[in-house]
């Protein structure tokens, strides 16, 4: 039982963590929280199943195509739902525009793909003692952590990302192409969410129900860890996955969702900026 809790908990937690990182990457570049984060995660699974099982593409083609498609959707999000409303950020219209786009993605997938969960292909086919569906999400999570770390510390583009995250206005005054960088961040975020969906495909299947589910459980670690804080997001995601699985085994069913939701609300009410977030800014 314990091993089952640990393997499923860490795997699900890694997927939540990746969606949380997706939220953060978009937020850092634009100060926008986007409802598309979980939906693109869902699409990662759907694209994977579509390319590999339905179009019979080999995995080495289907996998990069999935990431590319999800990155494209990230760019689309930026162009359609973020850029037109970014000037009046304080009006929070992005909440509505990204919600609208997320709903469109979900409905489109429901009609053109399926409303029922569809099978997802085996990727590696070897277990190493633990089924691949449990360690693939962890591997993806580790790869993303490492990749982001290298990107932010070692590359010029990564430093430019950090610059616009720190101060958008100053960055544009310095001549950084803020708009292009924002678009690149959304592409990166899309690819990360797509990776989450692909790596978690065998666990979650290719199902549209994953969209809202990932949206919510991917947001919980962001909210609790503090916006833009990737370490908090990853730790929070893994813990959430473990907590959920443990509770699933111990009390079971609907009480788990109620417990997670209540804990989420209580913590947020006590610390609206998250446990590790920055204090609120001046209002007047």
């Amino acid at each position: 039982m314990l091993s089952s809790i640990l393997s499923t908990g860490f795997a699900i937690g890694a997927i939540y963590a990746l969606i949380a990182v997706t939220y953060n990457v978009m937020f850092s570049a634009s100060r926008v929280m986007s409802f598309t984060a979980g939906q693109v995660g869902m699409l990662g699974g759907v694209f994977g199943a579509w390319f590999i099982l339905r179009l019979h593409l080999p995995i080495v083609v289907g996998f990069p195509l999935t990431l590319l498609a999800c990155a494209g959707i990230g760019v689309l999000t930026e162009i359609v739902a973020v850029r037109p409303v970014i000037a009046g950020l304080e009006k929070h219209l992005y909440v509505l525009s990204t919600l609208a786009l997320a709903l469109m993605m979900q409905q489109f997938t429901a009609i053109e793909w399926s409303t029922e969960p569809q099978p997802f292909p085996r990727i590696v086919g070897r277990g190493f003692g633990l089924d691949e569906k449990f360690w693939l999400p962890l591997l993806a999570c580790a790869a993303v952590i490492l990749g982001l770390e290298l990107l932010y510390r070692r590359t010029l583009v990564g430093r430019a990302f950090l610059a616009i995250a720190e101060d958008n206005y100053a960055a544009s005054a310095l001549g950084l192409p803020v708009r292009d960088l924002r678009m690149a961040s959304f592409a990166l975020a899309g690819a990360i969410a797509g990776l989450a969906g692909f790596a978690g495909g065998e666990l979650l299947l290719a199902s549209i129900a994953n969209g809202p589910m990932l949206n919510f459980y991917g947001f919980v670690p962001v909210a609790l860890g503090g916006l833009g804080n990737n370490r908090g997001a990853i730790a929070g995601g893994l813990l959430l996955g473990l907590f959920q699985q443990a509770a699933n085994f111990l009390v079971g069913g609907v009480l788990v969702s109620v417990a997670v939701f209540s804990a989420f609300i209580v913590v947020l009410m006590a610390a609206p900026q998250g446990l590790f977030g920055a204090p609120p800014t001046r209002r007047v």
Binding site: V80, H92, A100, F216, V254, R282
Partner: protein, 580 residues
């Protein structure tokens, strides 16, 4: 006369709706019933989303709660269907507060997420709690007693409730509560400074909106005749939410049209049914990007009315005494030893200041010297780490912004905070919110006390607008006015409190020389009426012209204090700030 014209669209809509059964098409009646039931919910939700600006996207949860409460009570034979509907309303009101509570601390996206989470939980509980809800198998909806059990009877009953909800929300919209809700949405800080309590107001609105949603749920269960958790999809939430945004925020007519449109659209274009939610979402995207004001903005003729080009704001200082007459022997406001740091930055570093009634006190200094922060400490937006603010011997509780208005402290802001789509008069009336006596329920039912409140506030707003010289623009939308006019509007709004102390934050910024002169005369008159004026300004001429005392701040400390002539002769001040 105006109110009769405004009522016309509603009369037309409901008259046409009442005539639908005459067409003899049963299916049409069912669709119309559904639209009426949805509107019962949407009308209440409109106060939350459209007026208060809270993004409650998971409101289907309350429809679910109402539907199950009614059905279970009736199925177990505890009560008849109509009393059960009333019980559902009460349960919904409480649940509405529960769903809404996070809004007191959380903003926009965060709150939207919590309502979504709640909606998921409610559906899961309905599925899992088989003993009570019937789980996935479901439960029969209640049947209303004759004559409401026939198709037409039930429709007319729903329509009557829909009309009642329309009337009640229209009353709220036109009351101080409606204005305060919009104030919290578009100018939260200003609304708080006017004494509006966000917590109080939101809880009241969530009670109301929860109740209408749950009653709609009971009707929905009857309409469906059998309910399972599947009936309460997220698509319904989307429909409710988008109807309001398509209709336009801060309007009742717009969302009513929106709700009718979204309910009817897929019915009359059968191939669209599967795509309906997709289309709603696409419509929302278009509205957000191209027409954030929604249908209501399209219908608003004030947007197109031409305003005179070369208009002048000419205040009437001579009218101030007719508004404010304060005896000058009242206690002064005293700041003693106030210290406030933001991290390592000392914004205010031990400030003492006395603001006497009937005196204009200038606060000058370079940028970042702590002027606005001082105003914020007085009005409660900033909490000092040390020191206190007193009026006479009574200390002001630090941080409690809403109690300031009741103590006669009014203020304006460095950038004017106005509600763009509200008229100038409505913007000014918000300033007098705390002077209303009628409760939310009285306003909702348009009882006499509410009507008296409105008449008084309206007359007072007219008077304040005349004093600042804006009476000719009273009916215009605030977002069509010039910056300088909004500055004078803020003064008028502050005057609504007949303040004992008036805090002005750079009122002359962006004004022309003539306007500054006229503003100066107005401030003098306010001071002479017995009000203590604390004036933060960079226009040194204005300060020296109208102030009795001046305090010069530098790096959060008092550099000098005294009469204007003393300050003008102060060597350090001249070299550091005034320039010599």
């Amino acid at each position: 006369m105006r109110s009769r014209v405004a009522a016309l669209p509603y009369v037309l809509i409901f008259a046409a709706a009442a005539a639908i059964p005459l067409a003899g098409d049963d299916y049409l009646v069912v669709i119309a019933t559904r639209a009426a039931v949805y509107w019962v919910l949407v009308s209440g939700l409109n106060l939350v989303v459209g007026f208060a600006g809270q993004l409650a996207i998971g409101w289907v949860s309350l429809l679910t709660i109402g539907a199950y409460t009614t059905s279970i009570i009736v199925a177990r034979g505890w009560l008849g269907p109509l009393p059960a509907l009333a019980v559902a309303g009460v349960a919904g009101a409480l649940a509405g507060v529960l769903v809404g509570l996070p809004a007191l601390r959380l903003r926009t996206f965060y709150f939207a997420m919590t309502t979504l989470g709640f909606a998921t939980i409610v559906t899961q509980v309905a599925l899992a709690w088989t003993d009570v809800t019937g789980g996935g198998i479901g439960i029969a909806g209640p049947t209303l007693p004759a004559p409401l059990d026939s198709r037409t009877g039930f429709y007319l009953f729903c329509l009557a409730l829909a009309a009642l909800c329309t009337w009640m929300t229209l009353n709220i919209a036109a009351s101080r509560f409606g204005r305060a809700l919009v104030g919290l949405r578009d100018a939260e800080v200003a609304a708080e400074a006017m004494g509006i309590s966000k917590a109080h107001l939101l809880v009241t609105v969530f009670l109301f909106s929860g109740a209408t949603a749950a009653v709609a749920g009971g009707l929905f269960a009857t309409l469906q005749s059998y309910i399972t958790p599947d009936a309460f999809t997220f698509d319904l939430s989307v429909l409710f939410f988008i109807a309001i945004l398509i209709g336009g925020r801060g309007s009742v007519l717009g969302p009513l049209l929106g709700a009718i449109l979204l309910t009817a659209l897929p019915e009359f274009a059968a191939p669209l049914v599967a795509w309906s939610t997709f289309l709603y979402a696409a419509l929302l995207l278009v509205i957000v990007i191209a027409l954030p004001g929604g249908i209501a903005d399209l219908l608003d003729q004030r947007r197109r009315r031409k305003l005179p080009q070369d208009r002048l704001v000419v205040p009437r200082p001579d009218l101030v005494p007719s508004l404010i007459t304060r005896r000058p022997d009242r206690p002064a406001m005293i700041l003693s030893g106030v210290r406030l740091s933001f991290g390592a930055v000392r914004a205010i570093d031990g400030l003492d200041l006395v603001l006497r009634p009937g005196e204009a006190h200038g606060l000058i200094g370079p940028n970042g010297s702590g002027k606005t922060t001082t105003l914020n400490v007085i009005s409660g937006f900033s909490v000092p780490q040390e020191g206190e603010v007193r009026i006479g011997d009574a200390p002001l509780r630090s941080g409690a912004t809403q109690i300031r208005a009741g103590l006669g402290i009014a203020r304006t802001f460095q950038t004017p905070r106005a509600i763009g789509e509200a008229s100038l008069r409505e913007n000014v009336m918000i300033g007098g919110s705390i002077e209303g006596h009628a409760s939310f329920a009285e306003c909702m039912l348009a009882l006499p006390r509410h009507r008296r409140d409105e008449a008084t506030l309206r007359a007072q707003a007219e008077r304040c607008l005349r004093i600042v010289g804006l009476e000719a623009l009273a009916d215009e939308r605030a977002d069509r006015l010039q910056h300088s006019e909004l500055r004078f509007m803020e003064v008028a709004r502050a005057l609504m409190l007949r303040p004992a102390f008036l805090l002005l934050d750079e009122p002359a910024a962006g004004l022309s020389a003539d306007e500054i002169t006229r503003l100066g005369a107005l401030i003098k008159a306010i001071r002479e009426a017995g009000c203590g004026v604390l004036l933060v300004e960079h226009h040194a001429d204005l300060i020296f012209d109208i102030c009795d005392r001046v305090t010069v701040l530098n790096l959060g400390r008092e550099l000098a204090a005294g009469t204007p002539s003393e300050i003008r002769a102060h060597r350090e001040v001249v070299s550091a700030y005034l320039g010599g």
